[in-house]
Symmetry: C2
Subunit: 237 residues, 2 copies
């Protein structure tokens, strides 16, 4: 069974929803048979690449006072801490996340995506040092078990894994997702938002029970060479 | 798009079918968006773990004379060479492939499955040294870029990735596969056997054209916290 999770490192409800989903997964009987894949979704593809303080950015973007933006962040922080997640509600900054998504696709190829995703969320939401500081992504890649030089090469080439990010975003759009987190189970069931743990648990059970694949549409004839219980190609006897 | 390929390292038509599929994939416009996954299928789960000469084994198993078994192997070798694949039709041996499949699942976790699959097929079909010799699998794992100690630890623990192998086999069985190679595109299209390159090309085109996902079944309400174009949780204004 495969669960694809669309999210952005800049998205606090993705960070919180991930923890809730993982709690449901930890209690799921067939968890060893569940593959979890991160899919890219940029909340703000036009965000500046230069890191800026988050609160004034939110205030300007959504027409809030600084106090309102701070209050919103404080409420999110409370939710995060309720899930046992560290969360700095002050002093964080934000920037374009495209490079993070490219790096997550590289990490997928290296079998280290889950590790890097954890490291990136923690770095963005809970670390006094900015995840967007120069050179920081390479450090974080190494922390996730990736080769630093290879990660630096991916980051230095703006086209590396760029199409993979865009393809994820096009798929999300084709499935009707307008926000994140967005969880898709075996491309059949969808869960939108940071739902309660029980909802994720129900979705996992439901996907598991209905996981028997629909009949396949055959392409090509049934007479191609194959090996089976009676052996491979046998001589005419 | 995802192509899952059920096969066994002991299956010559899997080795040949893989080459034909890869030729079709190399000519496929959207190849960068195709993920290929190996799935386990043991042709003979009851095969002995001790390596034995292949020709007498085939003869005994399928009630052939040694000459008939040799002729069958020679015909397969001709097909393999026709695809540019090295193939030893004499002197090879065979044994249980369960450990190879477990190792392929470990390699998947490490982002090295495709590399290991190539190495294993070559070792089994084209190398004078037996792929089933003691210690050989660890050498082959290292050749595929895996950590030798970690690979040895997986091989030493008979339960490591054993359920993943069995789950693949159960899925193949649920989809009606009785032989391999068996190719499944996005769990919608199926291609059985070492079909011609053109059949694989047609299957890829057909899967691509029909890849827009079916509507998802939503689980949970539509009101869970999420981040979208209008921001994350906003204060009541």
């Amino acid at each position: 069974m495969r669960v694809e999770v669309w999210g952005d490192i800049n998205c606090p409800w993705c960070y919180i929803g991930k923890a809730r989903f993982e709690q449901a997964l930890a209690g799921f009987e067939h968890r060893a048979d569940v593959e979890v894949v991160h899919r890219s979704f940029e909340l703000d593809p036009r965000a500046s690449r230069a890191a800026r303080p988050l609160i004034p950015l939110l205030a300007a973007k959504y027409g809030l006072s600084l106090e309102q933006a701070e209050a919103a962040e404080a409420r999110i922080a409370e939710n995060a801490r309720g899930e046992g997640l560290p969360y700095l509600s002050e002093g964080r900054d934000a920037a374009n996340s495209f490079d993070m998504h490219r790096l997550l696709h590289f990490a997928k190829d290296q079998g280290r995506q889950a590790e890097l995703l954890d490291v990136l969320y923690r770095a963005n939401f809970a670390d006094e040092r900015s995840a967007f500081a120069a050179g920081r992504l390479v450090e974080l890649a190494v922390e996730a078990g990736l080769d630093g030089e290879a990660a630096a090469a991916v980051l230095a080439d703006p086209e590396a894994y760029a199409d993979a990010v865009r393809e994820d975003e096009a798929t999300a759009s084709a499935m009707g997702a307008t926000g994140v987190p967005f969880f898709v189970l075996d491309r059949r069931l969808g869960v939108s938002g940071a739902q309660p743990v029980e909802t994720f648990a129900r979705a996992l059970e439901q996907a598991w029970e209905s996981r028997l694949p629909a009949p396949l549409i055959p392409v090509g004839g049934g007479d191609a060479e194959a090996c089976g219980p009676d052996g491979c190609e046998l001589p005419q006897q």
